[in-house]
């Protein structure tokens, strides 16, 4: 048999190869969708690797907590967590125990109350507990836009220099805690 015919016979397998490559790609995509590593709807944060934009927010008066401003997010003693939340946000209730756990472990959790009413926000903290050591109120949602927030909850981890190292849009899950949040906090504290 000549080389030309053998090459031609090989061509018969080309569609099979294409199907295999397509199938593998599709399988990896589905797996990524399942474990969350691939999210076609996810909006990657432009803040990663950067310090946060300048901002200042009013406090939630009734809580008695100090408010949050960009000056509070520079030259830190350790990594901090910044959480955008609202009382009307159901996933915020789901992730709340994880924020409480971080707070109990001594990780500073700063909150930004997004487009909320003060009494509702206060009622949420009274009912579910308060994990925040600082809490700013962003009623118009402008600071959130400056951060590139597109929904609540959204959570950021900043290192000592105030550089954003991690961002999660959506509720924090136990898997995220064990696979990403805790290892990163340990690394940043070391």
């Amino acid at each position: 048999m000549s080389t030309a015919t053998s090459r031609r016979n090989l061509l018969i397998f080309a569609p099979l190869g294409v199907a295999l490559a397509g199938g593998t790609g599709f399988y990896l995509m589905l797996r990524g969708l399942q474990d969350g590593s691939f999210n076609p709807r996810g909006v990657p944060s432009v803040l990663i690797g950067r310090t946060v934009p300048e901002f200042g927010l009013p406090p939630l008066e009734s809580s008695g907590l100090p408010t949050l401003a960009s000056a509070d997010l520079a030259n830190l003693p350790g990594p901090v967590v910044v959480n955008f939340w609202a009382s009307w946000c159901v996933p915020c209730i789901i992730e709340h125990p994880h924020l409480m756990a971080l707070h109990r472990r001594g990780v500073p959790v700063y909150g930004v109350n997004y487009k909320d009413r003060a009494p509702d926000a206060q009622a949420f903290l009274t009912r579910h507990g308060n994990p925040y050591t600082r809490l700013g109120v962003d009623q118009p949602g402008r600071v959130a836009i400056d951060w590139g927030v597109y929904g609540v909850p959204e959570t950021y981890i900043l290192d000592r220099q105030g550089v954003v190292r991690w961002r999660w849009a959506g509720p924090i899950t136990p898997e995220l805690m064990s696979q990403e949040v805790n290892p990163l906090l340990d690394r940043l504290r070391a």
């Binding site: 000549s2 030309a4 015919t5 709807r41 909006v43 990657p44 944060s45 432009v46 487009k115 118009p140 949602g141 402008r142 836009i145 400056d146 951060w147 590139g148 597109y150 929904g151």
Partner: protein, 162 residues
């Protein structure tokens, strides 16, 4: 006639109601026009397949207001786009920018066209070389010798079954 006009006006009212959110509309029609052009280029991050002009999400409303504020303050279209792009990244642009990550995306039509032309060229060249389209393969020496042995011995009736 007057009744027809009334009917037409009533029929048109839902269409008028559809013209976006009138809460934040700029006084100046040319500025408003610019704001809409920009808004149509920006993706609503919440619903994702709508522009902020078309979306009813509260973030889209905020961004519409923001675009109008900036235009009223004298910002150029580019400046407004840059402002939003700096905060939300490439994802917010409904028309993705050409960069290394999107090169393949933008090149796909050209690549597909080139691939098709190449395939046509290959097929036509092969067709021309082979005439009927089969047996373009040259026989090897061994095959030629074998053929020479077979052909003279062939039955004149053309019956090949041995």
């Amino acid at each position: 006639m007057r009744r027809l006009a009334l009917v037409l006006a009533l029929l048109a009212s839902p269409a008028l109601a559809q013209i976006g959110d009138t809460t934040y509309r700029l006084e100046d029609p040319t500025q408003e026009q610019r704001a809409r052009e920009i808004g149509r280029e920006l993706r609503c991050l919440v619903c994702q397949n709508q522009s902020i002009e078309d979306s009813d999400a509260s973030l889209a409303r905020d961004l519409r207001l923001l675009v109008r504020e900036q235009i009223a303050a004298g910002a150029s279209n580019d400046e407004v786009m840059r402002f939003v792009h700096q905060r939300y990244g490439d994802f917010v642009l409904l028309r993705p920018p050409v960069n290394t990550a999107t090169m393949l995306l933008w090149a796909t039509p050209a690549l597909a066209l080139a691939g098709g032309l190449f395939a046509i060229w290959r097929i036509r060249r092969r067709g021309a070389a082979a005439g009927a389209g089969v047996g373009e393969v040259e026989l090897t020496e061994a095959e030629r010798a074998r053929l020479a042995r077979i052909v003279p011995a062939q039955d004149s009736k053309g019956d090949h079954r041995a």
